[in-house]
């Protein structure tokens, strides 16, 4: 445990929380408002976030400051099977490897990986449930700070799910990978 990294992460998160409260930013409400009432303001927030990340990462990859990395998720059972599809993960070049021929590239390995379908269905459920709850996870934290007790129960379930997942559900869900 280093105090230094913890402090940097804490200060960055505090600043993001402060700014998110001031701008009522939410990643789900942007798309939702556009579909329901054609309000573009929050959607522009999401797009500027996305474009900033894209430009910054492209620049830092080009100058070799940021490493192109594979996600590393700790548990060996997940790691082994994710390493198989790891060549596609988290690199700017992964769209290139998608179109390569041969055993290490190509679309065949990708569409037979279960992680693709888990990701699609998981994203769908997260979008649906977030819309019903009235905001993404960041927005729920901000709502709790503004005094909404609905958000308090949301966050309680959010923390409780970690213990439930790793206590009981892990051995079933880990087969999905």
């Amino acid at each position: 445990m280093t105090v230094y990294g913890t402090l940097i992460l804490g200060c960055m998160s505090m600043l993001i929380g402060f700014l998110a409260q001031r701008s009522r930013m939410c990643f789900v409400a942007g798309v939702r408002d556009y579909i329901l009432v054609r309000d573009r303001e929050l959607l522009m927030g999401m797009f500027s976030f996305l474009i900033t990340l894209w430009i910054m990462t492209s620049l830092l990859y080009a100058f070799n400051i940021l490493r192109i990395g594979v996600p590393e998720y700790g548990a060996p059972a997940i790691r082994v099977s994710i390493e198989k599809i790891g060549t596609y993960s988290l690199s700017v070049g992964n769209l290139n490897t998608l179109f390569q021929k041969g055993p290490t590239g190509g679309i065949g390995l990708l569409i037979t990986s279960r992680f693709l379908y888990v990701t699609l269905i998981g994203g769908l459920v997260i979008g649906l449930v977030s819309t019903l709850a009235g905001g993404c996870v960041l927005r729920q934290h901000v709502l709790l700070a503004q005094g909404s007790m609905d958000a308090l129960f949301f966050i309680l379930g959010f923390y409780g799910a970690v213990v439930i997942y790793y206590g009981f559900l892990y051995r079933f869900f880990v087969r999905l990978y």
């Binding site: 990294g5 400051i65 993960s89 693709l116 901000v142």
Partner: protein
């Protein structure tokens, strides 16, 4: 317009550049694109405490062994400072406690499965992760389904 209101696109630029710079220069590396995620960092925080106190062997990332992931409490604290500083703290009673509890439960479970909250899905898409784009497409489709349900709820109540 409220006092001290910030345009959402300014938030996007500030938060986006901060997240990338934190990974590049503060060394939040071993899982890539991991400098801000509410689901994964909360998972790491809770599992670090569970492992430390009860001696469990729950899954954490390599980064969580180096630093303590205080993202979710820090976001709460920052938003609390902003809400009190600008006088926007209004206590509202809970309307459906059990329903919101289940919403939180479901979002965390599926968030652990696909390694990301909505924020990190967008971050991974910006990093060029193919699975991030797939998750974003799924999320947009899910939001569209959700708006259909909201419209039905409106038309019933009117």
């Amino acid at each position: 317009m409220r006092k001290g209101y910030l345009k959402p696109w300014v938030f996007g630029i500030i938060a986006g550049s901060m997240i990338v710079l934190a990974e590049a220069f503060a060394g939040f590396y071993p899982p890539a694109a991991y400098s801000f995620c509410l689901t994964c960092h909360t998972r790491d925080l809770v599992n670090t405490f569970m492992n430390g106190i009860f001696g469990a062997h729950f899954q954490t990332t390599i980064l969580a062994r180096r630093i303590l992931m205080l993202t979710s409490p820090s976001v709460l604290l920052g938003a609390l400072i902003a809400a009190h500083g600008y006088g926007e703290y209004r206590r509202q009673k809970s309307t459906h406690p059990l329903r919101y509890f289940l919403y939180g439960l479901m979002i965390m479970t599926f968030g652990i499965l696909i390694f990301g909250c909505p924020t990190r899905i967008v971050i991974r898409t910006g990093y060029g992760d193919f699975f991030g784009m797939v998750a974003l497409a799924g999320m947009v489709f899910g939001i569209w389904l959700g708006t259909l349900l909201i419209r039905r709820r409106w038309s019933r109540s009117v």
